[in-house]
């Protein structure tokens, strides 16, 4: 919210007279006006010579503020939206689908937490190939560790296909692979730029067409946040929270499912806990903990947080080689 003088261009009623009146009450920006007692200000305005214009100016600023908040929704509208738009995307992994009653829910932020080499990237690649193939939606994969492996994606796509003619298979493979876009991001500012650009594109895009985006994967969000978290100043913290909110906003407003990965750090008593701290805990809707026995191919997944299911429910699945 800008200083009052920069609003003068668009709203001529907020002229220099209004600004000097506000300045005499220590109000220089729209935020200051919000903090001030408006009845008292209106009473002072009454005593001025151009009281009508001043009161119109105050009303104008208040209407600018009013235009900034999200529209109100009632329960019925939310229910309709949930039933019509917020369906479930199968993740391609039977264990996870069974655990989550279907898979990744559109409109929610799902987080995969696990120690190194526990299968997080494999689940992401599996989900990407499954959504691109079965749900015919486009997938955006933001990769911070150069771990996006096209061969692995090809392997997952060709795993369950019918033994058809090679030519047709090749064409389908190309079509499906073209639905997955991968971009490498190496710092949080680039990620913000990418997400804002995505938001702009989604807002201006016509509904329909077969390249509708369904899944956004960020692998991993913790590598981007760890260099800026902590230390003097809380800017890193603020950036992490804004990134989380932006991802959730994208998920809800544009009906996409968002999947992020996080790593674990050592906690009290040697038990590992998810990285990124206490404030990040409340940001994802669903948190899943992955683990794998050393050298084995069976992964265990359990629920750490879910809006409608009990914590601690677990399942096992195997990553095929």
């Amino acid at each position: 919210m800008a200083p009052l003088k920069s609003l003068e261009q668009d709203y001529p009623i907020l002229d220099s007279n209004f600004q000097s009146f506000c300045a005499s009450h220590d109000i220089f920006s729209v935020e200051d006006l919000l903090l001030h007692d408006l009845y008292v200000l209106a009473a002072f305005a009454e005593q001025e010579s151009s009281s009508e214009r001043l009161k119109q100016g105050i009303t104008q600023v208040l209407s600018i503020i009013d235009g900034k908040h999200q529209p109100w929704l009632n329960g019925m509208e939310l229910l309709e939206d949930a039933q019509r738009n917020k369906h479930v995307l199968s993740s391609g992994c039977e264990g996870i689908d069974l655990l989550l009653h279907g898979g990744l829910r559109v409109g929610q932020l799902t987080e995969l937490v696990g120690p190194s080499s526990s299968g997080k990237t494999q689940v992401c690649l599996l989900a990407a190939s499954n959504v691109a193939k079965k749900h015919i939606g486009s997938v955006v994969y933001l990769d911070t560790g150069n771990s996006f492996s096209p061969q692995r994606v090809t392997h997952f796509i060709c795993q369950h296909s019918d033994p058809a003619i090679d030519q047709a298979k090749h064409r389908t493979l190309q079509k499906v692979m073209n639905n997955i876009s991968c971009k490498s991001v190496f710092d949080i500012f680039t990620m913000f730029d990418v997400l804002h650009q995505l938001e702009f594109n989604l807002r201006s895009q016509m509904q329909g067409g077969d390249c509708k985006m369904q899944l956004l994967i960020v692998d991993s969000v913790s590598s981007m946040v760890t260099p800026i978290l902590g230390g003097s100043g809380s800017q890193g913290h603020a950036l992490m929270i804004s990134a989380g909110y932006l991802l959730k906003k994208l998920a809800h407003e544009h009906n996409i499912a968002v999947l992020v990965t996080n790593h674990t750090v050592g906690g009290d008593g040697g038990i590992s806990k998810p990285a990124l701290g206490e404030s990040w805990k409340s940001i994802p809707h669903v948190r899943l903990l992955l683990s794998r026995e050393h050298g084995g191919s069976i992964c265990n997944v359990s629920i750490l947080k879910h809006p409608s299911m009990a914590v601690g429910k677990a399942a096992r699945f195997m990553i095929h080689n």
Binding site: M1, S117, N178, K183
Partner: protein, 346 residues
């Protein structure tokens, strides 16, 4: 608060917010001198802030395809691109097999093991193998060797280089009938000339060097591998502030990833081991903690099995877990000389 996402310093951001500019649109139409007067900073600083803001603003407004992102590649394109980049051989066939052909470009590979297992030997071998000419199946590139421990021995590098040239001549003699036409013009001195060696003595030097590598590699475009031996040394002892260490290490890991991706080169990090108490017993794991273990694309652990040296793929997005034996000879890293050369699948 959009100003929060601009990559500017904390004090500049504080001044912007104190003056009431919390969104990009609120000051994007101002002139730099106006902004400078408002914030009480120099004109240059104000111009810099405006430049950064307009860059972000321009990205917002540019329309790309349907839901896609600028600069993104589709998986199909990436699949075909991968075939264009050959891998760097390690001169040991078993090791190459489990690595899918060798060390991959565009990825960060971490290699760790107990002291004396051959990490530095492997590093020197890779620095030489990257220079194998394209005709012989190599990359024909140069190498950057960052030495933090002082374990790089030039005499050993010369020895390995001579052995490599001998192997290539033998190979060349077998493959080509007209040996005269493609005479090997390589001399061990040429190979040594193509290794750029940096010695760092503290962690600040290490971080400064990695920041500088961006500029260095843009000037020397044929560098195809960066080897850091070892990445742990300066971060292990006498580091008081563990939180700072985690931040520095993850920042460094991201920069190395970016280098690998932008310049299509391989980054190899050599790491040391430490004891860790897991599941009731002490196990050997790589140093630098849990957060660092997520900072590489692939991880290879070198260990002793009886009298033999083995390598084990611990983490990889596309390779399956396997181990293979190798040996360190006077010629460098070679196949293990034992009878059973089977690759064990885990």
């Amino acid at each position: 608060m959009e100003v929060g996402r601009l990559p500017i310093s904390a004090s500049q951001r504080g001044k912007l917010i104190a003056a009431g500019y919390t969104t990009l649109s609120s000051f994007s139409s101002l002139s730099p001198s106006h902004l400078a007067r408002d914030l009480k900073i120099s004109d240059n600083e104000a111009a810099e802030i405006m430049r950064v803001a307009s860059h972000s603003h321009r990205l917002d407004g540019s329309a790309a395809g349907c839901g896609t992102v600028n600069g993104a590649q589709t998986a199909w394109d990436m699949l075909h691109e991968e075939e264009m980049f050959p891998r760097i051989t390690t001169s040991c066939m078993d090791l190459d097999n489990i690595l899918g052909g060798g060390i991959n470009c565009k990825e960060v590979t971490e290699i760790g093991g107990v002291p004396g297992i051959g990490k530095t030997q492997l590093g020197i071998q890779l620095a030489i193998n990257v220079q194998i000419p394209v005709d012989y199946g190599g990359l024909g590139g140069k190498a950057i060797y960052i030495d933090t421990e002082g374990s790089f021995m030039v005499e050993r590098a010369l020895q390995i280089a001579e052995a490599c040239i001998e192997d290539m001549s033998e190979c060349g003699g077998l493959l080509r009938k007209d040996f005269q036409a493609c005479q090997l013009k390589m001399h061990p001195n040429n190979i040594l000339e193509n290794i750029f060696y940096f010695r760092v003595c503290s962690y600040t030097e290490q971080i400064a060097l990695i920041n500088y590598l961006d500029k260095f590699i843009s000037e020397h475009k044929d560098v195809k591998i960066v080897i850091v031996d070892s990445v742990t040394f300066h971060f292990r002892q006498d580091f008081d502030d563990m939180a700072l260490r985690t931040r520095l290490l993850s920042g460094m890991a991201l920069k190395l990833m970016k280098l690998a991706k932008d310049f299509s080169l391989a980054v190899v990090l050599l790491n040391q081991v430490t004891n860790k108490y897991i599941d009731g017993s002490f196990q050997l794991t790589l140093a630098l903690g849990d957060s660092w273990s997520h900072s590489c694309t692939n991880r290879v652990i070198l260990y002793w099995n009886g009298n033999e040296r083995y390598a084990y793929i611990d983490k990889s997005p596309s390779l399956r877990s396997a181990s293979a034996p190798y040996s360190v000879t006077s010629k460098g890293i070679r196949n293990s000389a034992s009878n059973c050369k089977r690759i064990k699948m885990m």
